[in-house]
């Protein structure tokens, strides 16, 4: 009987260590801890081009993370990408005329949505849409534009 | 023939049994009857499929054709569930004992009881100790199988085989590789258990003297056929050359001493040229 009990205790310890390891991977190693307070409200925004934005990409204001992207799909009516965001509940004073832009963190980093606050007294709430948006900068387009304007500039001179 | 299967005399009936492993024919039309309450032995040279017969009776192998009836049920036609029900009425003692090496002697004997009944642990303990007492090993119930001698392991296996009070018990080579005292003990146990518990016993063996002493009836098989059967005394007095050779252990006879080969003298002379 004693042996059976020893085995049970050791298995219990093993399972506990395993779960503790999973817990550590979840809370300490990965970003699950920052999801924990993800209860918030959903808003949408339409972009002409989202570039490399992905689900779970961060949403920030003044560089502070306030939410994340929950879904991305293509809207056939407006020929634009529709992005669903969830904003953390405590950040409930974002003016309705705020603008959303897709930026890149660093030269080669991941893309994120940055929200610039507007001047309205009314604030965004569940289900609202951010109307002012600025698409992601696509490097090829920028280079193309640069070359074009440079060429145009050369001819006018 | 099959209308006799319900006979109260015969517990196991084998009719027209054919079986082969690949191209090797093991049984080529074998008929056998095992009577209730008797000790019946299947004898034959090594490799003649004696153990295979036990597996057919236990339903672990299916015959290519022919019938195997146990207690009125046709074994090859049973579903898995029915077969398992039938096996609860069978005990089997394997050549090596086949004790579970990870369990003590006590747990080994208790295993079938725990698996198939919901008896309280106190009752199981009494039952197991009674079965172990019957084979003279009650004092060894705490040992592990690795601590047992070969003979003791077989006796424990015997106690386990009778744990559920089966109708019949099958012994696969019970005497092989044992010292004379152990052989005597096992012989006595087989006979005693058969008679006191009113079992039907089927032994597979090639130990002529031991088997003749305890069997009521013997089947001799060779090359897939029954070549002689009868009470031990009848077989010993048989006029058949093969039966005589086997029963008296003569080195040469109908079963030749030499494996078929070309002529000895020519073989040796040819061999010199090949090197």
């Amino acid at each position: 009987m004693f042996k059976v009990r020893t085995i049970e205790i050791m298995v219990g310890v093993f399972v506990a260590i395993g779960i503790a390891a999973l817990f550590m991977l979840a809370m300490k190693v990965s970003n699950l801890s920052s999801f924990a307070q993800q209860e918030g409200f959903h808003v949408t925004a339409r972009f002409q081009n989202i570039g490399g934005l992905k689900v779970l990409s961060p949403v920030s204001m003044s560089g502070v993370r306030v939410g994340r992207v929950t879904a991305i799909h293509y809207d056939q009516g407006s020929y634009e990408a529709e992005v669903d965001l969830v904003i953390t509940g405590s950040y409930d004073k974002i003016p309705v005329d705020s603008s959303a832009s897709i930026f890149t963190s660093g030269l080669l980093g991941e893309q994120y949505i940055s929200i610039e606050p507007g001047g309205e007294e009314r604030y965004l709430k569940q289900g609202d849409r951010i109307k002012l948006t600025q698409s992601a900068l696509v490097l090829e387009q920028m280079i193309g534009q640069f070359l074009f304007s440079k060429a145009a500039g050369d001819t006018t001179q | 023939m099959s209308e006799m299967t319900g006979s109260s005399e015969t517990l196991v009936q084998v009719r027209g049994l054919k079986f082969s492993y690949g191209r090797r024919v093991i049984f080529d039309g074998v008929d056998m009857d095992f009577l209730r309450g008797k000790v019946t032995t299947i004898m034959g040279p090594s490799g003649t499929g004696k153990t295979t017969m036990l597996r057919m009776i236990g339903g672990q192998l299916r015959p290519d054709s022919g019938q195997v009836h146990v207690d009125g049920q046709s074994v090859p036609e049973l579903s898995r569930r029915q077969l398992f029900e039938l096996r609860k009425k069978m005990g089997m003692m394997f050549q090596t004992g086949a004790l579970f090496t990870s369990m003590s002697v006590f747990d080994n004997v208790a295993f079938p009881v725990r698996e198939h009944t919901n008896l309280p642990e106190q009752l199981i303990r009494d039952l197991v100790l009674m079965k172990l007492e019957a084979v003279g090993l009650r004092g060894a119930h705490k040992l592990m199988p690795a601590e047992l001698s070969g003979g003791m392991a077989r006796r424990v296996a015997l106690a386990r085989a009778i744990a559920l009070d089966p109708l019949m018990i099958m012994y696969d080579e019970p005497f092989t590789g044992q010292d004379p005292i152990t052989v005597g003990v096992i012989m006595q146990l087989i006979r005693k258990i058969n008679d006191t518990l009113g079992l039907t016993s089927i032994i597979v063996s090639h130990d002529v003297a031991e088997v003749s002493a305890i069997s009521d009836y013997i089947y001799l098989i060779s090359n897939g056929k029954v070549i002689g059967h009868g009470a031990p005394s009848q077989l010993a007095a048989s006029g058949s050359g093969w039966v005589t050779q086997f029963m008296h252990g003569q080195p040469d006879g109908p079963v030749p001493f030499h494996y078929p080969a070309p002529d000895y003298a020519t073989d040796l002379l040819d061999g010199a040229g090949h090197e």
Binding site: G18, L22, L25, S30, L32, S34 | A98, L99, T101, P112
Partner: protein
Amino acid sequence: MLNWLQRLGRGALDNFAGLGRASLFLGHTLSGLPSVLAHPRRVIAQLHSIGVLSLVIILVAGLAVGMVLGLQMYNTLVDFGAEASLGPAIALTLVRELGPVVAALLFAGRAGSALTAEIGLMKASEQLSGMEMMAVDPMLRIVAPRFIAGVLALPLLSAIFSAVGVLGGYFVGVGLLGVDDGAFWSQMQSRVDFYDDVLNGVIKSVVFGIIVSWVALFQGYDTVPTTEGVSRSTTRTVVYASLAVLGLDFILTALMFRDV
């Protein structure tokens, strides 16, 4: 020539027959799962011999792999001034790939071979046959609890492997090489995603647990019941299970992380 063709055809047929037997075996094992759930104690006993006894090798290997990763990656990253990325680099490597894969390989070597040997010896010593004759199905009584225990144990073991590995990388990177403590963890947290990385790693290790347990149990059950047969089956378990893990890892990685 004909002989050669015959042998080739025979080999192919043997392989198909083996695959068929293995599949039937898996089906039979899975059909035994409900009866195992009725007797959880049998799984606990197996978790001990499969999981607990593999713990030491997993801990040691995890720590060693994490420390080596810390050292090597630091040397490369420091050239780009990116040593703050040491945390995410170690964590992603471990959680996505090395944790599940190396733990599965060690598991195949430690627990898989032991399972094959145990069941093979039970077959060789007629214990399985004896159990069948006692009207107890060894698939339910012996094989299914070990299968469950294997499938449960490996995800836990590989989580332990990854966690210990991250700690090993932390000791080397932060303790020895002077990477900033806060940057190590915060970068890691911002780059490692729970669902994409950690959960996919766990799914991988569940799949590997199924594969390794299946191979090990089948090789034991299908062994040639002799001493030599058991030793060959044990070798085959380690080889087949390892190859299956590596091959499947490639497929799973392609499926899971294709957009990252």
